[in-house]
């Protein structure tokens, strides 16, 4: 519930002056903008603005406190929840989206305590600032500064978070895994069958958690520029062999055979070597995961003039058609994944890596008389450039331009 209060226009103008983005405006501009303002009071827990709704207004907090929230849903089937991503305190502004297209709120703002705000009509203030460019310039500059500060702050937070996650969370897990393996290996005395089974399960869960942490950190770092900065010449045959090594243990444990069909000769290509290995390893592990015991996973590669192809084919039951459009999404796990371990990040990481290579991953279900399964084809362009090659090319065109 909200109560609109009629305060004198000069009082509203004074309050605008004390806010973070209208502070630098002249008296006349403040008085004019105050015309589009009303004061509102909210109870604790009330929603001032809702994520996804049309951004019709901006809000300056006068008293109290707002929490900015974003809806988070991991996977299609999980329950969405709200995560608090920031707070707005007196003098600060919520609802920047009221100033910039497409005028849709990107977060929700919820009152943490009884809160008084000034509500500024979005379309009216936009129209006023357009008609008064000097004032418009001042406001837009303050907004740019604010956004820059928030952006920098969020990058710092992310970097800090990533380093904490990658080391501080993984270290204790490594210690636990180490103990479990030591005990399971019989190095700390005999175990009963039941103890052994429970420890094996614990080990599985802990290993899963550790690889999930690795994947989440990876995902956050997976920006195309970062991947492209690592482009170098490498032998794809070598990388393929390393991926086979990565996947061999899982295949052996599951009783899955890996058949390899390499080209007659591997030619070097340009790409992010370590990332490419991740693509092949993820696809192989994925295929093994969904393969019945005793079946075969085929890993093949061949060249065409412009393109190098890698293919991973399994004899599993295929991907349900309704899941096909989603398998490359973050955290997606099809219903058929059931007890199969994993967080659903392997394929989305592989796709992001291939996107950075201007390549793609094509997935196809195989239904034949005698065969079933899934085939993932990795398409890698052969004309990619290392940063050094790009620099050389750039200098050459520059010289051409100078020499006319």
């Amino acid at each position: 519930m909200l109560i609109a209060l009629a305060s004198p226009i000069s009082v509203r103008a004074e309050r605008l002056r004390r806010s973070e983005i209208f502070g630098g405006l002249d008296e006349a501009d403040l008085m004019a903008i105050a015309e589009f303002c009303v004061e509102e009071r909210y109870h604790e827990g009330e929603v001032v603005l809702a994520e996804g709704a049309p951004a019709e207004a901006l809000f300056v907090v006068e008293r109290g406190k707002l929490a900015l929230e974003k809806k988070i849903q991991i996977g299609r089937h999980s329950t969405p929840r709200n995560a608090t991503i920031g707070y707005v305190e007196p003098g600060k502004l919520a609802g920047f989206s009221g100033l910039v297209a497409p005028y849709v709120y990107s977060t929700s703002a919820v009152c943490l305590e009884p809160t008084r705000v000034i509500r500024i009509d979005g379309p009216a203030v936009r129209e006023y600032l357009e008609a008064h460019p000097a004032a418009g310039w001042k406001v837009i500059t303050s907004v740019a500064v604010l956004i820059r500060d928030r952006y920098r702050n969020s990058i710092d937070t992310l970097t800090y978070f990533l380093s904490v996650v990658s080391h501080e969370l993984r270290s204790p897990l490594a210690a636990i895994e180490n103990y479990l393996q030591t005990m399971l290996g019989g190095y700390a005395g005999e175990l009963t069958e039941k103890q052994q089974r429970m420890m094996k399960r614990s080990l599985l869960r802990v290993t899963d958690l550790r690889s999930l942490i690795g994947d989440v950190v990876d995902l956050a770092r997976m920006r195309p520029e970062q991947i492209q900065a690592d482009f170098e010449w490498f032998d794809p045959g070598e990388v393929g062999t390393e991926s086979l090594e990565d996947a061999r243990l899982a295949a052996a444990e599951k009783g899955v055979r890996i058949k390899v069909e390499p080209p007659p000769k591997f030619e070097p290509i340009v790409g992010a070597r370590r990332r490419m290995r991740q693509v092949f390893t993820n696809l192989l592990n994925n295929a093994i995961k969904f393969s019945p015991s005793g079946s075969t996973v085929t890993f093949r590669a061949w060249y065409e003039p412009e393109t190098l192809y890698f293919e991973v084919e399994d004899e599993g039951s295929g991907i349900p058609p309704e899941d096909l459009p989603h398998i490359f999404e973050d955290f997606f796990r099809g219903d058929s994944a059931g007890e199969t371990p994993g967080a659903g990040l392997g394929l989305s990481i592989a796709k992001k890596i291939m996107d950075a290579h201007d390549g793609k991953i094509v997935v196809k279900n195989l239904y034949g008389e005698s065969e079933s399964g899934t085939r993932f084809t990795v398409v890698i362009p052969r004309n990619l450039q290392t940063p050094e090659m790009r620099r050389q090319a750039w200098m050459a065109t520059d010289e051409q331009r100078i020499n006319g």
């Binding site: 080391h167 993984r170 270290s171 490594a174 210690a175 636990i176 895994e177 180490n178 103990y179 393996q181 030591t182 290996g185 190095y187 700390a188 370590r274």
Partner: protein
């Protein structure tokens, strides 16, 4: 009679140390532990190990510091080093190489947590290679 190979294990995490000790106690080795790089170098100065198992991120002196000191002292330069770490990113390795101007001179690199059988196998391999090299150099003149 052959002496038991002497292995020094360096890690700041006491649980990791106990786990590794428990695994390696199954083998005929003489084992000792240190919790940071400084302590490690003190112990190496007293008694040169046949193998160093080394964590990278540690207080006081980190693993990179230990490698640097080990390689710059002729008496220890040949001691094989098995790096055992949760840090697997190439970036940290590259940074080390840029900072020191030398390749990270370690014989082996195992991601934590090491599987017991794999750990024993790598340790055996490094010890054998080291023993072989040491015998060779004893035969060489001067």
């Amino acid at each position: 009679m052959e002496q038991k190979p002497y292995i020094l294990i360096v890690d700041d995490d006491p649980d990791i140390l106990e786990g590794i000790l428990t695994i390696l106690e199954s083998q005929p080795y003489r084992l000792a532990t240190a919790r940071d790089g400084k302590k490690c170098m003190e112990m190496v100065a007293q008694d040169i190990p046949d193998l160093l198992i080394l964590d990278l991120l540690m207080p006081r002196m980190d693993g990179w510091g230990v490698i640097r000191e080990m390689r710059s002292e002729p008496r220890y330069a040949g001691v094989p080093i098995l790096v055992l770490t949760t840090v697997v990113e190439d970036a940290s390795r590259r940074r080390y190489e840029l900072e020191t101007g030398m390749a990270m001179d370690v014989q082996d690199y195992v991601q934590k947590p090491a599987k017991p059988a794999e750990l024993i196998q790598r340790v055996e391999k490094l010890l054998k290679a080291y023993a072989y090299r040491t015998r060779q150099s004893n035969f060489s003149p001067g």
